[in-house]
């Protein structure tokens, strides 16, 4: 179906199901319960899961398949966001023109940077991309402020032209009248589920681009990219020119990043310059490696993992801890709170750092490897048969080079 094998079709159906059910699945604990703190089913975070999932899927097409490690993809994310907000300012709040522009400008920008950077390989390539992105960030923050509104971030002002805004047009981002920040809340028993327009908009786009990436993985182009990662010498002596292949992968992943950046601004009409900083580029690298580079689902898992910790763990404070352990005797309660305290709230990055280390030490293939292990355990299939999980055939062997 859809040009996919039966296995891939099943896989895609599972992904679609999970994506559409996210508002329910991420809300496992009833409202008001002690563990409700761990619920992640609110619009902003779900949107971020989908958007950073898209970013990571795109990055994986470059890094996972070709092995070229870009440290500058945040630049495309930023360009995408700025494009969308500029379209808001000039035309109006419909997200479509902005998203189209975001993909196109990010693609062109990627073409330029990729064309230059891909003249080098390995770490030299990584540093070239990093240099371009850092230049973009530094300029966006300072000299280019008329274009980017600098530190504050680009936003819509009431005196912007917005020439396509009719009297009845919604006054916030919308898709032909479907307003992104509108939600339906449904209470079922003790649970409350939020079905947000913006989330479903992102989710549908995420499913489409996931499907595209699945097609790319299974296409002749996908094989060529993996061949580049494995052996460029054989590639050239087989009559193939690796450069246009890597450049195409770079541009495609740049467009994914631009789309993700555009969606960020579609959910929340503000484009901050920090989106272009090296830390943002590093984040997508971490997401991809953490989840499992070169696998289809890995990067999405990695994106979800990091965003979850950033948004959920940073909000747990001592008061919440005390309510959790309130049932315990006072001394014990204080002791436990004291022990847990460094890892939550402002210590969320410590927890994240430790988890990075644990995952990479114990699960060399990333989170997806953990998933595969559990899968094997559940299905009871033996380990030594090297049973393929969903993704095993694209699982990268640990090879001894960055790229």
């Amino acid at each position: 179906m859809l040009g996919l094998s039966k296995k891939d079709t099943t896989f895609l159906v599972v992904v679609i199901f999970l994506t559409l059910m996210t508002p329910i699945l991420l809300q496992p604990f009833p409202e008001g319960s002690v563990l409700a703190q761990f619920n992640a089913g609110y619009p902003d975070l779900m949107q971020r899961f989908a958007i950073y999932g898209i970013f990571a899927i795109g990055f994986n097409i470059l890094f996972g398949l070709t092995g070229y490690l870009s440290f500058g993809h945040a630049a495309f994310l930023g360009v995408g966001s700025y494009s969308v907000v500029w379209m808001y300012k000039l035309l109006g709040y419909n997200v479509v023109p902005g998203l189209l522009l975001a993909v196109v400008t990010a693609g062109l920008f990627a073409l330029l940077i990729g064309y230059i950077s891909l003249r080098r390989s390995g770490i030299y390539f990584s540093i070239l991309t990093l240099a371009f992105a850092q230049m973009s960030f530094n300029l966006a923050y300072s000299v280019l402020t008329p274009l980017t509104n600098g530190e504050t971030g680009l936003q819509v002002y009431t005196d912007d032209p917005q020439i396509l805004m009719g009297a009845g047009s919604p006054n916030s981002p919308h898709f032909f009248g479907i307003v992104m920040n509108e939600s339906a809340k449904i209470d079922v028993g003790g649970w409350q589920f939020t079905f947000n327009n913006g989330y479903y908009f992102c989710a549908i786009i995420a499913i489409i681009v996931f499907y595209l990436s699945l097609r790319i993985f299974r296409s002749p182009f996908g094989i060529m990219l993996r061949a580049i990662k494995t052996n460029q010498t054989r590639m050239t002596y087989t009559g193939l020119n690796p450069r246009p292949y890597t450049l195409a992968a770079f541009v495609i992943s740049g467009m994914y990043a631009g789309l993700a950046g555009g969606l960020l601004a579609s959910m929340d009409p503000l484009a901050g310059a920090e989106r272009m900083q090296w830390t943002a580029s590093g984040e997508v690298v971490l997401m991809t490696i953490l989840g499992g580079a070169g696998t289809l689902m890995g990067p999405i898992l990695g994106a979800g993992f990091i965003k979850y910790f950033e948004n959920i763990f940073s909000k747990i404070n001592d008061d919440i801890l005390h309510t959790w352990f309130a049932a315990l005797p006072d001394g014990l309660e204080d002791a436990i709170v004291f022990m847990v305290h460094p890892f939550i709230g402002k210590g969320w990055s410590l927890t994240l750092g430790l988890l990075f280390m644990m995952v990479v030490i114990f699960l060399p293939g990333g989170l997806i490897e953990g998933g595969n292990r559990i899968w094997r355990l559940v299905t009871g299939r033996s380990r030594n048969r090297n049973t393929p999980g969903k993704d095993a055939q694209h699982h990268p062997k640990p090879t001894a080079h960055v790229n």
Binding site: L128, Q134, N138, P364
Partner: protein
């Protein structure tokens, strides 16, 4: 002209910090083939060695002085540093005053130990793993290290002044035949530059003139062959890791008076030091040093008002611009070897 000399001095000074960090990073790349994202954190921990030394010397005996009141109206606490009560206020005072240079004595063993533990406990298991995994694990480690520092020292910068003797500036211009008050330069920055030059020279001498160094250099060129010769190169590489950490640590400790240490200063230097190493060329120690000084000097000149008025914002991007130009004209940086981290 005097403005140019001033900026040249600034460049050398910036460059010596870059060079020291890049040197350690290259030692680790070159000998171990490991991408160490925690190297910036080593620099940061070095700087906190200076902070720790200062607070250790300031461990005080507390007495209450009922004649004075603190902000809540309670009797004020009078703190007398132990060192002062031990050696008398005069000598004790000057020991405290010299805490930053003294912290080198703390930084060397601490950083060597940290380096050994890191290499044996963690990095060792990642030699055969992809560079991507190395990046993830060392980045995780960098976060953990800086969060630990934040837990104990907070997020604010902590003042760590240079000894009084070097706190002010000296009239450098007079020394090289200029009029008075034309080239004024902070004394501590001159100390820092001299210190860096000594460390860099020492590292090179160590690699050049000792058997140990020769084996390591041979190992950098061809690890397998050296291994075949029956030399335990792994052990030496562990020591090199310790040395690299110690170099970064000393660079950080001595930098503390210039840049008040804070827990995330390592991340600020991380990206820059990678750029320096790559511009210098992977696996080349002289390249790292050369690139460090080059980028430092170029950055300083780009910060001059005359240049900035020509090209606004040039000082924000000059390092990256130079990096791009060099990498496009010289495929392996200034002095890189073929095949290192190129696949």
């Amino acid at each position: 002209m005097d403005a140019l000399i001033l900026q040249f001095l600034n460049g050398l000074d910036k460059g010596s910090a870059y060079a020291l960090i890049a040197l350690g990073l290259t030692l680790i790349f070159g000998t171990l083939g490991v991408v160490n994202f925690a190297h910036g954190a080593m620099f940061m921990i070095g700087a906190f060695c200076a902070v720790a030394m200062q607070s250790m010397l300031n461990i005080s005996k507390v007495t209450l002085d009922p004649t004075k009141l603190d902000f809540l109206g309670n009797p004020a606490q009078i703190r007398t540093p132990m060192v002062e009560s031990l050696f008398g206020p005069e000598l004790g005072g000057s020991i405290i005053n010299w805490s930053v240079p003294l912290s080198i004595l703390l930084a060397i063993p601490v950083m060597l130990a940290l380096g050994f533990i890191m290499e044996r406990g963690l990095i060792k298991h990642f030699y055969k793993r992809p560079h991507a995994d190395q990046i993830l694990v060392t980045f995780g480690l960098a976060i953990v290290l800086q969060e630990i520092i934040k837990y104990f020292y907070g997020a604010n910068p902590i003042p760590t002044p240079a000894p009084d003797a070097f706190r002010g500036s000296i009239d450098f211009g007079v020394l090289i035949g200029y009029a008075q008050n034309t080239i004024i330069y902070p004394a501590w920055r001159l100390v820092y530059f001299t210190f860096s030059a000594v460390i860099i020279a020492a590292v090179f001498a160590f690699l050049q003139f000792t058997t140990f160094g020769m084996v390591v250099r041979a190992g950098m060129a061809d690890r397998e062959t050296v291994g075949l010769l029956g030399i335990n190169i792994d052990k030496r590489f562990t020591i090199m890791f310790g040395i690299a950490a110690a170099v970064a640590g000393m660079a950080g400790a001595m930098y503390a008076p210039i840049n008040s240490p804070n827990y995330h200063m390592g991340m600020d230097f991380l990206v820059l030091s990678f750029v320096v190493v790559v511009v210098g060329g992977m696996g080349s120690l002289p390249g790292a040093v050369l690139a460090g000084f080059l980028l430092g000097v170029v950055e300083s000149f780009a910060s001059m008002n005359e240049v900035k008025s020509l090209i606004p914002g040039i000082d924000q991007i000059i390092i990256y611009l130079i990096a791009i130009i060099i990498l496009l004209t010289r495929p392996r940086g200034l002095m890189g070897r073929k095949g290192v981290m190129e696949e």
